[in-house]
Every structure is written in structure tokens, then in C-alpha cells.
């Protein structure tokens, strides 16, 4: 059987960063496996600007951003295989690869970084009421048709969900001559970044309806109309609030979910992010298997994905070199007002600062973020505004961590 020291599954931003980092730390026997024809992942289809502000202090398009990493992979001579998909995996890190050029084969890895990205929730997952017609499509798929293949999936479009991809598609479709009638969001607030609402909707006079969702889709062959209804606090449709809109397309931007089927095969524990549960090295609960990027938790800014990829690559390198310290475990839990925290576990003997990444449950103003351990305050920070669509990062220095025992939790407190 073929063997490799570090196998990176997925050659998107997270996977490339992990491989580059591990190589820089002296790991030479690496293989990146990517199922698409090219490295780069989802960024290949994100032709808009807005990438790299933190990483390069420049505003790049998706393909420009990824090209910088592809060239590092090439320069560092890190082996990669494209049009090759990992289709199975065991806890012993024996991985089955199905490759266009090389057929199906197994390879045994000493360490693995899972960087398989995410997928979009679609019409089935949100159980849209009404007919089963064509013309209902997820935002990312519509983006791929348009930006990669050059086809418009609709001319009169309603967008459901105000996630970033939906917002970006509203602008992109408008520029290509489609009429975007409105964006409808079931929550009382948008799930997109504020800059996207300003630049993609407001600049083009596209209305955003909040607390409103699709109560029915109507169409025999192709979509003909949708009915939008207001919802109450329990997300139930309010009769009498129906708006009938004629359209040929409904674009769904209703959420991204970590794509971790491979980890499911090996019963790898997951967290409330729907990705794997990890420690501060981005190591899952299975030793030597690491995870980073959108398959760990869904990110809105690629620069942070790159960063997380490096963290996983660093962890894998230390693990392979046997420099990995495993002390007593400190469990990290999200409490009041916080939906998730990454990582979910810290090694007590950790010798580095730890960054907690988390999201809030709903938009809040003027709150204190409280970090506690066994009822004792570890840190307290004032936060003027926090919204669910923006991931928050807070660093806890290793000195502060020294005072922490067994458990640590994060919560919000109103002032």
C-alpha cells in the first residue's frame, strides 16, 4: 500500500494553507487530494473582490487570492492530485482515493488534515412548500453556472435568505441583466455582512424583506410564482400577509453546512458547528486527524480560513515530529448568547496563546464577553456590537490559560 506522512483532503484555501505550513515546518512527504480539476476550492467561482484584506492588506478577487497560494504550493514542490476524490477513510488513516487518472487505490497516512469545505442547504433541507418545478436553485450553484460556465439561470429572480452568497448573487445577476425582485429573509435580521447589504442590495435598489419567507412555490414545469408571507416569532406564517410575486427563479441562500461525510464514516465526534470537535491544534477527537476551514465551521472571510489552515498544518507537523504535548484536557463551552466556540477542547500543557472563534445567537449591542473557569472570571471584554454573521475572535494568552482548570466557558452579559 502507498504511504504518506501528511495527507491533506481538499485543496481549497484551508487545505493549501495547511500543506504549505507543514512543509515550511519540515514535513516533506505530503499529498494534497482535490476532487476538482484545479486547486482553490470555492474561491474559483468567487470572481468578486473582497478577499485578502487581512492576509495581504490588499483587496483581491477570489481567483487572485487563491493563485498566490497555488504558486506557493508549486514553489515548495508540494505534491497534489486533482480530479481525485477521497471516497472512504478508516480510523487507522487508510484512505481510499478515486482518481480520474490513477483509478481507485488506497493510501495510508500518518496524519490527515480534513479541509473539505461546506455545502449549501437546498430546497429539500428547508422543505419548501408547494410544487416541484425547475427554477429553484442554490446561490452557489447559480454562481457556478454564471461565473464558471457563463449561463444565467434566471431572468426574474427572488432570493430567499440573505446570506453573503445570496447578496453577492443579487448584484452579479443584476449586472448580467436579470431583474432581482427582492431578497426575503426569515429572520428579523440579515445573515450577510453589512458591507454586502450596502454594496449588493442598497446600491441597486433591491429591497430586503425581513421576517418573511416563501410559503409556497407555484409552477408546472418551470417556476411561475412564489408566495412570500410574514412569519411570527415562532417562524410560523401569518395568514393575510401573502405577497404574490411572478418570477422564473428562486435562489436559495439559506445556509452552509460543513461537508464531513468522511468523518461521519469513522464516527468522529462533532460539535454544534456541525463540523468536527477539535482542540487548539485543530486536531479532531481522533489522534492525528486535523480539520480546518469551512468543513470545521463555516467562515465568512477567507483570510481566517487560511489562518486556520496554517494552525492545522502546524498541529499536524508537530504531531508528525512527535513534539505534540498532550496534557490534561480543558473543556470549552459556549453559554448564554453564544452559539458555538472553536476549539471545544484545550490541552492544559499548551505552550501557545489560544484564539477562541465564536458566533453569537442574535445581534446584540453593548455587551460584555465573559470568560470564566469554574465560576471564576478569567477575562472580561466589552463588545459594542456583535452579529451572528460575523465570526468573533478573542485571544487568550498562555499566562491567563495557566489559571484555567478543567473547564472554561464563554458567555455574553448585558451591561
Amino acid at each position: 500500500m502507498r504511504t504518506v506522512d501528511l495527507l491533506v483532503i481538499g485543496g481549497g484555501s484551508a487545505g493549501m494553507a495547511a500543506a504549505i505550513q507543514a512543509k515550511k515546518e519540515g514535513i516533506n512527504d505530503i499529498l494534497i487530494v482535490e476532487r476538482d480539476e484545479n486547486l482553490g476550492g470555492i474561491l474559483n467561482q468567487c470572481i468578486h473582490n473582497g478577499f485578502g484584506l487581512t492576509e495581504f492588506k490588499e483587496e483581491l478577487s477570489g481567483p487572485e487570492y487563491l493563485a498566490r497560494f497555488v504558486s506557493q504550493v508549486e514553489e515548495l514542490k508540494i505534491p497534489y492530485m486533482t480530479s481525485s476524490m477521497v471516497i472512504d477513510m478508516t480510523r487507522e488513516k487508510i484512505v481510499t482515493i478515486s482518481s480520474k487518472k490513477e483509478g481507485v487505490f488506497k493510501i495510508k497516512a500518518k496524519a490527515i488534515v480534513m479541509a473539505t469545505g461546506c455545502y449549501e442547504r437546498g430546497a429539500g433541507a428547508i422543505q419548501i412548500p408547494g410544487d416541484r418545478c425547475s427554477g429553484i436553485i442554490t446561490a452557489g450553484t447559480a454562481q457556478k453556472y454564471l461565473n464558471i460556465h457563463g449561463y444565467l439561470c434566471g431572468k426574474r429572480v427572488v432570493i430567499l435568505g440573505s446570506g453573503d452568497i445570496g447578496l453577492i448573487m443579487a448584484r452579479r445577476l443584476t449586472l448580467e441583466g436579470a431583474k432581482v425582485i427582492c431578497v426575503s429573509e426569515i429572520m428579523p435580521y440579515s445573515n450577510g455582512l453589512n458591507r454586502n447589504i450596502a454594496q449588493c442590495l442598497n446600491d441597486y435598489n433591491i429591497p430586503l424583506y425581513l421576517s418573511r419567507s416563501v410559503s409556497k412555490v407555484i409552477g408546472k414545469d418551470r417556476l411561475e410564482k412564489v408566495i412570500l408571507s410574514a412569519v411570527d416569532e415562532k417562524m410560523q406564517f401569518i395568514p393575510g400577509t401573502e405577497m404574490e410575486i411572478e418570477c422564473d427563479t428562486l435562489i436559495l441562500s439559506v445556509g452552509l453546512i460543513p461537508y464531513i461525510s468522511l468523518l461521519d464514516y469513522i464516527d468522529c465526534p462533532t460539535s454544534s458547528t456541525k463540523g468536527a470537535k477539535v482542540n487548539e491544534h485543530m486536531e479532531t477527537m481522533i489522534e492525528g486527524i486535523f480539520s480546518a476551514g469551512n468543513c470545521l465551521h463555516v467562515h465568512d472571510v477567507v483570510d481566517f480560513v487560511t489562518d486556520e489552515g496554517r494552525l492545522a498544518g502546524h498541529g499536524a507537523a508537530e504531531y508528525l515530529k512527535g513534539e505534540f504535548k498532550r496534557g490534561e484536557k480543558i473543556v470549552v463551552t459556549p453559554k448564554d448568547g453564544i452559539s458555538y466556540v472553536v476549539p471545544q477542547e484545550i490541552n492544559k500543557d499548551n505552550e501557545e496563546d489560544v484564539t477562541f472563534k465564536f458566533r453569537v445567537r442574535k445581534p446584540v449591542k453593548d455587551v460584555n464577553l465573559i470568560i470564566e473557569s469554574n465560576g471564576e472570571l478569567v477575562a472580561k471584554m466589552f463588545k459594542p456590537v456583535l452579529i451572528p454573521s460575523e465570526m468573533v475572535m478573542v485571544k487568550l494568552s498562555k499566562d491567563k490559560l495557566a489559571n484555567v482548570d478543567k473547564e472554561v466557558s464563554l458567555r455574553l452579559e448585558e451591561r
Binding site: R35, K100, Y145, D221
Partner: protein
């Protein structure tokens, strides 16, 4: 103008099995359907259970054909290369007052000639660890099974076509008149002439039958709504789990499918529209509540799709399988509601041997082949011998659908067959590309391009389902 001996209206499972049985004989057969693919309506949206036959009232057509049909599935599925597993069914009583009903069902099974066993609560819990712990007992029917309904119909038609049957899709029958020895069957596009006409039009069978004479039966579709769950960990249920049946049907069941998904449903409400496949939240909520009563731990967060199917429920409460009153050369096979799928092989045989043979002289063909060309799948329970095939045919290691691990080789294979897919949905039905957790989010663009290339048309012409259901509407300037 080509003239046929037998023309079948409807390429659902009933029409498909009639066609396949006719294909053994030296007669000219046409199989017509108004849809863009075979098996696109009721045969595409049901529970996919090969019922044992414990439930239909003794002496009915339903009882007779169900029991006969069930026994025929092993051989047919072998010949047609279709997944079929006899997993057995459990009809569970959750309350003490239901126990006498279980006994009654056991008695009915005996009369129908179906092997069953009454189980104690403890026995049920051992077989189904996730069942409601208050379960009082169950009726176990070991011969019940699950089948891949999509490929059952697709491969049956393919096999019929390989043996000489002519398939016509997108042909909606609008009128039928007898002209001398022949029936003239008109569609929205053209005219067909045939000596014998078989009406297997599912929910529309009453409409078709009324084209030749007044009838005393009527079909009112009864809609069933379902949840499909992703490939969840094995063992949520190990058998088909039914509640006790009522006059509305067999009730809401929980089962695994042949592809390792789970199916929860169906509801049962009458609908006036024959083509109403809408799903609605209150009905689904009710399905969820009832199913959860039997199996409390169903992970509804794993739902990847909801759908609805229409049972062709007939005022006679039984299958209508008979000559028309006026003329033996017109045969009605209508009201084929559940257990219609399991009954189909027996119905197909009966219609051909008992109804067609007496009115048409037919000889067996010497070169009839009951088997379809072998289908190869990369991802068939991860068997090593599949890898060997993939390594010899590299198309079979190029993955197109990530979730279901469908390869380019499989897609090109189904395209090259005699009953090929013309739409994204038809391709999905055959290969499972787009059937997984992302529901085509990743693979649909690839599938559209493969279809366009294969048929030599623009991607704008590729439909999701019917002839007027395009996915893409315009090519942008500067687009490739």
C-alpha cells in the same frame, strides 16, 4: 404508418411489466407515456415496499396479485440488475387495545397464504432497539422487502425495448376511436394504430377508459407526503416498521431504502387534482408526529428532501383488471394503488397470459433475453471487485456526484442504453447523481454539461424534468 398489435398507455410500473411480458412474444408493441421519462409519476413516488400481503382483504385482486407478485421479485430483480432486499416488516401495536387487531391481521395473513409471526414486546425490542419502548407486540412478515423502484421501472422498460418493444415518450393520449380492426390512438403530436389497447394510465386511467365508453368507476388520487433522510448511521430501523392499517391505508411507516437512506411517510389525503405533487408543512408535521410515536429517535435534522406521490384510489376499492364492456380489444388496468408495485409482475403476467393471449395469436420469440446488460457501480457497498473494474475503466473512477459517488462511467453507461435519460431528473433516477445530501448543488452543473455534450445540444436545452423545464435561461455575453 406503423401499425401495432398492442399499444400500452402509461409507462409506470404496471405498463412496464405488461410491456416486458409482451416482449417475450412475436407481437409489435408500443409503450406510450405523456412524461419525459418512464415511471415519472406514482411509480416514482411511493414507499418502495414489496409488501408481504398480510393486509389486503382475502379474495380481492389486491390480495391475489400482491402475494403472487411478492414471490416473483427475487428472479426479476436478478434479471433486471435491480437492488432488492427481503428485510421483513413489523406491524407494531403501541396500545393494548390494538393487540386484538394484530391477531386479526395474523388471521388474514393465513387466509392470504402469507407467512407471519406474532411477536411479544420483548422480541420486538430486541429486533428494533429504537422502537417506542411502550410497544405491546408486532406482526412480523419475513417476506416483505424493499426495492429500488426507480431502476425497477427503468430496467424493465430497457429490457422490453431490448426485446423489441417501441417506447414513445412525451406522447399524451387525447382521444381513442375504433376504426375497423384498429384503434386509432391520438396524442398531442401524432396518431398510432393498434389492434389491442391496454390502459395502464395510473391516476388518469379513468380518463383514458372514458375515451372509449362510459365507466362505473372513478379515480380520486390520495396524496402521500414523505421525508427522505440522508444515509444516516445503520440501524435506526432494521425492518419496515408499519403502524396498524386503517381504511385510509397502511399508515405512516419508517423504513430504510435500498440505497441506505431512510423514508418516513406517507400521509393520506384525497386531492382533486391528478397532478398535485405539492407538499405542505401541516401535513408533514403530522407525518413527523405519527412516525415519532413508533420510532422516537428519528433524526429529522437529517432530512434531505420532502416529496409527494398520488395513489390512484378507485371507487371500487380494488384493482380494475378487465376487458372493456364493449370490446375485448380494449383492456383496463386501473386503480392500481398500493400494493400496486409489488403486484406489478403478477399483473403483467396475468394481463398478457389471461387477457391478451385469448384475443391475439402470439408465438414465443426464440431470442428473447430476460436480462439487461450488467450495470457497474463504483460505490456499491465498497466492494473491492468494483475497484478492479474501475481501474480497468478509468471513467469509473472519475467522480461526478460527490455525495453518492457516481462516476462518469456510470453516467455514460446509462446514456448509451436503450431507455436513456433525457433530463436531469431521469439521470438522477438511474444513477443517483444529485440524490444525496447536497441535492445536486455540486454535481448539477457537471450533469447538465454531460447531457448537453452527449446529445449535442446547448446546455440551455437541458431540462430538469419535463420538456418545458429548462434549468438555464440565457448565455451571457463573453460566456464560453
Amino acid at each position: 404508418m406503423e401499425r401495432f398489435d398492442v399499444l400500452i398507455i402509461g409507462a409506470g410500473v404496471t405498463g412496464a411489466m405488461i410491456a416486458r411480458n409482451l416482449a417475450k412474444y412475436d407481437v409489435k408493441v408500443a409503450l406510450l407515456d405523456k412524461e419525459n421519462d418512464v415511471g415519472n409519476l406514482t411509480s416514482n413516488a411511493n414507499s418502495a415496499i414489496i409488501h408481504s400481503g398480510y393486509d389486503p382483504l382475502p379474495g380481492t385482486n389486491k390480495a391475489k396479485f400482491n402475494v403472487l407478485g411478492n414471490k416473483m421479485f427475487d428472479e426479476i430483480c436478478e434479471d433486471l440488475d435491480v437492488n432488492f432486499y427481503r428485510v421483513g416488516s413489523l406491524t407494531v401495536a403501541l396500545y393494548d387495545e390494538q393487540l386484538p387487531l394484530l391477531k386479526e391481521l395474523a388471521e388474514r395473513s393465513k387466509q392470504n397464504g402469507v407467512e407471519v409471526k406474532l411477536l411479544s414486546a420483548e422480541e420486538v425490542k430486541k429486533m428494533e432497539p429504537n422502537i417506542n419502548p411502550n410497544v405491546k407486540g408486532a406482526l412480523f412478515a419475513p417476506t416483505a422487502g424493499i426495492v429500488d423502484v426507480f431502476n425497477f421501472v427503468v430496467h424493465a422498460v430497457e429490457n422490453a425495448v431490448d426485446n423489441g418493444v417501441k417506447l414513445f415518450l412525451n406522447e399524451e393520449v387525447t382521444s381513442i376511436v375504433k376504426e375497423g380492426e384498429y384503434y386509432k390512438v391520438k396524442t398531442q403530436k401524432e396518431e398510432f394504430y393498434s389492434k389491442v389497447v391496454i390502459n395502464a394510465a395510473g391516476c388518469y386511467a379513468d380518463k383514458i377508459a372514458s375515451m372509449v365508453e362510459p365507466i362505473d368507476w372513478k379515480i380520486t388520487p390520495r396524496k402521500g407526503e414523505y421525508f427522505v433522510l440522508d444515509h444516516y448511521k445503520e440501524g435506526l430501523v432494521n425492518h419496515v416498521i408499519f403502524p396498524l392499517p386503517s381504511e385510509k391505508g397502511k399508515g405512516i411507516l419508517v423504513t430504510m431504502t435500498t440505497s441506505g437512506n431512510y423514508l418516513v411517510g406517507p400521509s393520506s389525503e384525497l386531492t382533486d387534482e391528478k397532478d398535485d405533487y405539492r407538499t405542505d408543512p401541516p401535513t408533514l408535521k403530522n407525518v413527523r408526529a405519527q412516525a415519532s410515536e413508533m420510532v422516537p429517535s428519528i433524526p429529522f435534522n437529517q432530512v434531505i428532501r420532502v416529496f409527494a406521490g398520488n395513489r390512484p384510489t378507485c371507487t371500487r376499492h380494488d384493482f380494475v383488471i378487465e376487458y372493456s364492456k364493449k370490446d375485448k380489444n380494449f383492456i383496463n388496468v386501473g386503480g392500481i394503488e398500493s400494493p400496486g408495485f409489488v403486484s406489478s409482475p403478477a399483473i403483467g403476467e396475468y394481463v398478457v397470459e389471461q387477457l391478451v393471449k385469448p384475443i391475439l395469436s402470439m408465438k414465443e420469440k426464440a431470442n428473447y433475453n430476460p436480462k439487461v446488460r450488467k450495470y457497474h457501480r463504483l460505490y456499491n457497498e465498497m466492494r473491492e471487485d468494483n475497484y478492479k473494474f474501475s481501474n480497468e475503466h478509468l471513467n469509473y473512477s472519475e467522480i461526478i456526484c460527490n455525495c453518492e459517488k457516481v462516476t462518469l462511467g456510470e453516467i455514460l453507461d446509462v446514456l448509451s442504453r436503450s431507455n436513456p435519460p433525457h433530463s436531469v431528473k431521469a439521470l438522477k433516477r438511474r444513477t443517483r447523481a444529485g440524490f444525496g445530501k447536497c441535492q445536486g448543488g455540486f454535481c448539477q452543473p457537471r450533469v447538465v454539461l454531460i447531457l448537453a455534450k452527449y446529445y449535442g445540444v446547448s446546455p440551455l436545452e437541458i431540462n430538469y424534468d419535463g420538456e418545458f423545464s429548462p434549468i438555464l435561461l440565457e448565455k451571457i455575453k463573453g460566456g464560453r
